[in-house]
């Protein structure tokens, strides 16, 4: 025994029970749990009493009843005023996701451009990017939505004096009248062809990497992939007899006819969300590029890589490792911020489900609960993906 001067008797050192950290932590946790159970129980108890007093039946039965109100925007799902409240939920979710996906697409492009511009050695360009970022980041998003919706889009000309945007369609105070894709039989096959092209490209890519690791031989993955992803759907398109055509809107006396109407609420939200989020993305991109040590570029040159290769094989992969985690949380922020749609009555999940449907049914607990769970699920899925990506790409330290 290393310790010899300790009493070897079997009595433990005497510590007052309250001074024992283990005992204290157990007591503290028990108190916390009792307190939480009490809070939750009293909330449930109060809610059930209050609901009984107000004469509101709880439960999810209301989901199957007919909603009785119409919605002005539903790009993919069928909806009419006789649809059920469950369908209202799905349409709301769909509209939220459409908004989020398109917003993320534009925010990423603008954000990367602005982030790189901020680092440009051209003074004017970097100053423009700087003031863009500062102005966008330091004004409220809700205000920006209002500026686009009430300040800009509402002051557009009336339908009969629509602005002709050429191939993009017509723009007026009722929204954008854009060309519509009309699909005939067999159009679905093109989507499948695209999917197959993507899968094959992915397989080829991993095979080519394995082969390069083993033999050092390279395989033109980029061109093969491009051919597969663009060529396959194109081939299907012509084999199926060109099943997709575009229907252009035409100018009429009472405004544009035909085509697809994109409501101004949607345009305002896309503009505001993507421009606002882009400012945050720009800062992330800038930080990511700055995080890559200058020595990395020099080392690449020393190894004989060309500037393009240096960027592609050395700088971007390392910058992305810094960029991706905050970028995902910005995507998530954009998705959550899309709930501001309720302010200008774009029918997203919050507006139609937690707004209109709640007012019609009065089922506050169920509806707000479902809405919150949906957003929670979206954010948990995103953070799971982020953790997976981080684990995959983090530095392997030896």
């Amino acid at each position: 025994m290393a310790v010899t001067d300790m009493p070897t008797g079997d009595e433990k050192p005497k510590v007052k029970l309250l001074n024992d950290p283990k005992f204290r932590s157990i007591v503290f946790q028990v108190i916390l749990i009792i307190f939480l159970v009490w809070v939750v129980w009293s909330m449930i108890d109060n809610a059930s009493t209050n609901l009984k007093n107000a004469g509101i039946a709880s439960g999810f039965g209301f989901l199957s009843t007919s909603s009785g109100f119409g919605l002005n925007f539903s790009p993919f799902l069928e909806y009419s005023s006789s649809s059920s409240f469950l369908q209202v939920y799905w349409v709301g979710l769909q509209n939220t996701l459409v908004l989020a996906v398109i917003g993320i697409f534009f925010a990423t492009i603008i954000g990367f451009v602005m982030g790189v511009a901020r680092l440009s050695n051209n003074w004017v360009i970097s100053k423009i990017a700087y003031w863009y970022v500062e102005i966008m980041r330091n004004t409220p998003l809700l205000l920006q939505i209002f500026i686009w919706y009430k300040g800009v889009l509402a002051t557009l000309p009336l339908a009969k004096d629509s602005i002709d945007l050429g191939a993009l369609g017509f723009l007026n105070t009722k929204g954008l009248f854009a060309p519509k894709f009309v699909t005939a039989d067999g159009a679905g096959l093109i989507g499948w062809a695209l999917l197959i092209g993507l899968v094959i490209t992915f397989v080829i890519k991993s095979w080519a990497k394995k082969r390069q690791m083993a033999t050092g031989e390279r395989f033109p993955v980029f061109w093969t992939g491009l051919g597969l992803i663009i060529g396959l759907p194109l081939l299907t398109y012509f084999i199926m007899g060109q099943p997709i055509s575009t229907e252009y809107p035409t100018a009429g006396n009472f405004g544009p006819r035909g085509g697809m109407r994109v409501i101004p609420e949607f345009i305002a939200l896309i503009l505001a969300l993507s421009l606002y989020t882009a400012a945050f993305i720009a800062e992330i991109v800038r930080a990511g590029i700055l995080a890559v040590n200058r020595g990395q570029t020099e080392a690449s040159y020393a190894l004989g890589l060309r500037p393009g290769q240096t960027l592609r094989l050395n700088i971007i992969p390392q910058a992305l490792r810094v960029i991706i985690p905050p970028l995902t949380s910005q995507y998530l922020n954009l998705t959550k911020n899309s709930s501001l749609a309720v302010a200008i009555a774009y029918p997203d999940l919050t507006a139609v489900f937690a707004g209109t449907a709640l007012n019609q049914t009065g089922q506050a607990v169920e509806i707000v609960g479902m809405t919150m769970l949906t957003y929670l699920a979206l954010s948990l899925i995103t953070s799971l993906f982020m953790n997976w990506y981080n684990a995959k790409n983090s530095l392997v330290e030896r």
């Binding site: 946790q29 909330m43 109060n46 809700l142 500026i147 002051t155 309720v342 809405t371 979206l378 954010s379």
Partner: protein, 468 residues
């Protein structure tokens, strides 16, 4: 030739100051740097016209500026209307006014006419001095606090966190809080202010007794702890007393509050509540006790996972359901609770970042000098961790400040809510009205948020002791 040259120069070096007619004695005067490398031209060459792509970029950027800046200046200054009494001042001929067709610029007299509503909301005119005093106290207390060179930081902080909140509550709402007691059943004593104080005394005695028992249980001296607790309860009693005293101020319900003052109230209350809550949650998340850390994780992830607007919906629609019958919260207070809980979750993550950035040695060092958990947190860990995350805290505050505009969606008339309300007034209804008010609003928000972010950069530099 080369040999001879080197030989002569060697000879010269050996002989030192040899008088040779063809050798200069003074330095040649320095030539001016090449025009291309210095001054305005050099700067332009380096930053604007370095090479062909750079020149193209400059021209492109110049074109963008040419498209936007003159239009902006015209809209805000030169074409704008600066005086007038109603909408006719800002209306074109077709709209019934005198301005030329196609005129589009700011209509500033409308903002001037509504300025009072934008700032104070519908607060009664006769009571505006109360708001002004509150605002004055706020800025007079805040500005010296932000200047690191000024003395009396401790007193200043006590004023801002202790006196100012109570004073502003009394001033803005009128005070005279009705306290009816909370402990004894009604059978023993009728609800009254006296009963409240009796209840409060009983509560104080119970708490002091518990503290004494606990200190006895841990074999420490109970007297200082009991005295400390009693002083704390006395301060609380004083605060409650001041809030409940009738100063003769006319009560102003919160539905009359509004405008930029309400924005400030929500933002400041939110951040003051969020910081301590966030610190507790961050500590809880890193706690060794599984129940505590699990609770903190669920709490933080829940609030961070949902949009603020659903939180506000929940606080305005669902919260009344969860409260016992008869207990009602003010609409503003409900929004405040929602905002504070929401931002405390974000604050917790910011603080956690600071806690994780500290080297483990700091924790071990604190333990080694014999500090207990709370002492080591208060004296060693938190000062360092909070210093690291100042930018994060300021960013959270900027986010919160911007997010206060969301309360306009649940019907509170904050700055943005007041602006939207003003659009329904026919006196000033013109097509440019909306844009004018929004540009004004954006300018004010930009001023505050940009100022805060500049200040955080300044503070970051100042506190940077170049080791983390």
């Amino acid at each position: 030739m080369a040999d001879i040259d080197s030989q002569t120069s060697m000879n010269r070096a050996e002989t030192g100051a040899l008088e040779v007619a063809f050798v200069r004695k003074e330095l040649a005067p320095a030539m001016a740097p090449p025009v291309n490398e210095s001054g305005v031209l050099g700067w332009m060459r380096k930053n604007l016209f370095l090479n062909i792509p750079n020149t193209i970029l400059t021209l492109f950027a110049g074109y963008i500026l040419y498209l936007t800046i003159p239009g902006l200046i015209q809209w805000i200054f030169t074409d704008a209307v600066w005086s007038g009494d109603d909408r006719l001042a800002c209306a074109t001929v077709a709209q019934g006014g005198e301005l030329p067709e196609g005129w589009k610029a700011a209509c500033w007299p409308y903002v001037g006419a509504y300025l009072k509503l934008f700032i104070y909301g519908r607060y009664p005119d006769a009571e505006l001095w109360r708001v002004n005093i509150t605002l004055f106290m706020f800025f007079a207390g805040l500005i010296p606090l932000l200047m690191p060179n000024l003395p009396f930081k401790r007193e200043n902080l006590i004023f801002m966190l202790g006196i100012f909140p109570v004073a502003s509550f009394v001033l803005l709402s009128g005070g005279n809080l009705g306290l009816n007691g909370f402990l004894l059943p009604e059978a023993i004593m009728e609800p009254s202010t006296l009963k409240f104080w009796v209840d409060f005394l009983i509560l104080t005695l119970v708490i002091c007794g518990l503290v004494a028992a606990y200190m006895k249980g841990t074999e420490s001296d109970p007297i200082p702890a009991v005295v400390g607790t009693a002083i704390g309860m006395a301060v609380l009693a004083l605060v409650l007393f001041v809030m409940s005293v009738d100063f003769g101020l006319e009560p102003v319900e919160t539905d009359r509050w509004g405008g930029f003052v309400m924005t400030l109230v929500i933002a400041v209350t939110g951040i003051v509540a969020a910081l301590p809550l966030g610190i507790l949650l961050a500590l809880g998340r890193r706690s060794n006790m599984p129940a505590v850390s699990l609770f903190s994780v669920i709490f933080i992830e829940f609030w961070r996972g949902i949009p603020l607007i659903t939180v506000l919906f929940m606080s305005s629609v669902m919260l009344p359901l969860f409260l016992p019958d008869g207990v009602t919260f003010d609409k503003l207070l409900r929004a405040l609770i929602g905002v504070a809980l929401f931002s405390s979750a974000y604050m917790a993550e910011v603080v956690r970042g600071g806690l994780q950035a500290l080297p483990k040695g700091q924790y071990e060092g604190a333990m080694a000098v014999g500090l207990n958990y709370w002492q080591s947190m208060r004296l060693i860990i938190m000062p360092q961790a909070l210093k690291i995350v100042i930018p994060g805290i300021v960013n959270t505050f900027i986010g919160l400040f911007k997010d206060t505009t969301l309360v306009s969606i649940i019907g509170l008339l904050d700055f943005l809510g007041m602006i939207n309300l003003s659009h329904s007034d026919a006196t000033w209804a013109t097509p440019v009205q909306a844009m004018t008010s929004y540009v004004f609003c954006a300018f004010i928000f930009f001023l505050f948020c940009f100022g805060m972010s500049r200040y955080s950069i300044y503070m970051e530099d100042r506190l940077n002791t170049s080791h983390r």
